[in-house]
Structure formats: C-alpha cells, structure tokens
C-alpha cells in the first residue's frame, strides 16, 4: 500500500515539475526527398549549423545521423528533441544508377552496398522514434510502395506522423496531391532548400509532437 502511495506522490511531483517535452524525432522517406536538406534547415534555424552533406546523387546519407538537444520555440511552447536523419528507404538499389551519375563502378558498388545497409538500419531505428516526419518529394507521385509502406507501418505502430511535401519551389510540386493521397495526416508543403513555409512546418510539428 505504501508503495502505491509513494509511486502516486512521485508521479504527481514529476508531473508538477516536468521539464519541457523531449522527444526523438526521425526523418524518414525515399531517397532524394530532401531529408538531410530539411535536417540542415532545422539545424541552421535553431543551432546555426548544418547536420549532414547533401548530393543530387541518391543515397548520399547511408548512415544514421543524430543531432542531440535541439530546442525549438513557437509562442509559449517549447519542444526539445534529438533529430535523427536516416538513409533513404528504397526497394531497389542498383549501382548502375550511380555510374550514370558519374561514379566509378567500384565507388558505385560500394555506395549500393552501404545504401542497402542503410535501409536496414533506418527500419531498425524506427522502434526508437517518438515522432516521425516523412519527407516526400512533392514533384513525384506520392503513391509509391515506399511511401505507403512507411506510412502504413507508422500507423500500425501508432507513431505520430507529419508528412512534409518538400521541394515546393519547383514548378511540378503538387502538395494537394500528397494531401489527397494521405488524407488522415497533416501535410505541410515546404521548400527545405530555400526555407519556404518553415513557420507552418514548426507549427505543425508542435501540433503533432508538442
């Protein structure tokens, strides 16, 4: 009985003096959707530094990168998170695509191997995410196997999801198409590259994770 009482008192005190919320926030999506560009944008906005390197060749990010203790504010709300940038998730990885982009055969095969490992790691790390941002290239058809599998899986895990329709600076971008494809989710259109609509992005993030 004393134990139960002690636990109750502990919980009340913990809740009373609870620090601001701290979560693990994962960036997921297909390759070249702009996950690292968004990670860099968030880090630039709040820490004044980049997080990782970006490249027009797919699968530039082949390892998990974690930036710890990012604190963001919107009005009176504060959110603290560890930002986890993950390799792009793909169903097919073919070194010949990298050769076409100018890599040597040896480099391309190595990249393919590392990218495959990266996909497996990214999926493994999903268990540790409190909230996930799915970054989708808004110029592409959103109904891809990768998008549907990731989002469906997150739904099954009951992980809060924010969908980012990235690359709205490009003419072909169609945010409405992405909203129509995933009507049960918040979708925010941004250009991570140019920082367009980031205020709405942070608001949406607070709504999901705050």
């Amino acid at each position: 009985m004393m134990n139960i009482l002690k636990k109750f008192v502990d919980k009340v005190f913990r809740d009373l003096f609870k620090k601001k919320k701290h979560i693990r926030l994962g960036l997921y999506g297909p390759p070249n959707g702009g996950k690292t560009t968004l990670a860099n944008r968030i880090c630039q906005d709040w820490l004044g530094e980049d997080m990782g390197s970006v490249s027009p060749i797919a699968h530039e990010t082949r390892e998990i990168y974690v930036k710890e203790e990012i604190n963001i504010k919107s009005g009176r709300k504060e959110l603290s998170f560890n930002l986890v940038d993950t390799p792009g998730i793909a169903t097919k990885i073919d070194y010949e695509n990298f050769v076409k982009k100018g890599l040597s055969v040896k480099e391309a095969k190595k990249r393919a191997r590392e990218a495959t490992k990266g996909v497996i790691d990214a999926i493994k790390w999903l268990d540790d995410m409190d909230t996930v941002i799915v970054v989708i290239d808004a110029t592409k058809d959103p109904m891809s196997q990768v998008n549907i599998t990731i989002i469906g899986n997150l739904q099954a895990r009951k992980t809060p999801v924010l969908i980012v329709a990235n690359k709205t600076d490009l003419k072909k971008a169609d945010v409405k198409k992405i909203q129509a494809a995933f009507p049960q989710y918040s979708v925010v259109g941004i250009s991570a590259r140019y920082g367009n609509n980031m205020d709405n992005f942070y608001e949406a993030l607070f709504a999901i994770a705050g």
Binding site: V66, V105, A108, T116, K117, I120, D121, W125, L126
Partner: protein, 125 residues
Amino acid sequence: MPHQCVRCNTFYEDGAAEILKGCPCGGKLFFFIKKEKLEKAKEVTVNLTPKEKQQIEFDVLDIIGEEAADDQPVVLDMEAIRILKPGKYELDLVHLFKKDPLVYKVGEGKYLIDIIRSFSPSKKL
C-alpha cells in the same frame, strides 16, 4: 525449404549437415530461397562468375555486420534482400518492416539468433 550455397550453387534441404557446418566447397554463406522461387533463383546464381560470387559473399557479410564475422555459416533470407549481382539489390520492405529475421546464424546444430536484433547500433538518443 532449400538453401543454396552462394559459392558453388549446391542446394541443400532444411537441416542438412552442410548448412550447419559449412559447404564442402568451403562456402559459409547460404541463400534461403522459397520453393516457388527456386527456378528463378537458379537462373540468377548460375550466371554469376566466381569473382561476382566472392564479391556477394563480402557484401552480405558487410551488410549484416560484424556479428557474422566469425567462422559460423550464415543464411541470408532471400525473401528480404535479393542480391541479383554485386551492387544490385532488391529489398522487400514489407518483410523488413515486419522485423522478420534477415539473416540466420547457424551453429551448434541449429539456427541460432536473429542477428538484426543483436547487431543493433549503440543507441545514445
């Protein structure tokens, strides 16, 4: 369910001694293939050169991590990752997301562990 030695293409049934000890050719990496996909798998592996096979062995061991670096035989589930040639991979996301074991390590007379769990990166989140 058939297991194929990546090095010499020989097929072995479940529980065969060769899978547990390693293939007589010296190969320690096996592909686990569903019966209905056997014909397709045969076509793929027959067309590989010895050099490509060696590369695939190296790649698989690299992908599955250091845990597999000891001398025990390893079985890669081809349902989850299909390696067509070095540098050409097909991933079954549904399979991977289901957290089914990707690779089985073999030893002491039985399939042992789910490596995907045991080689999780150190998570300092």
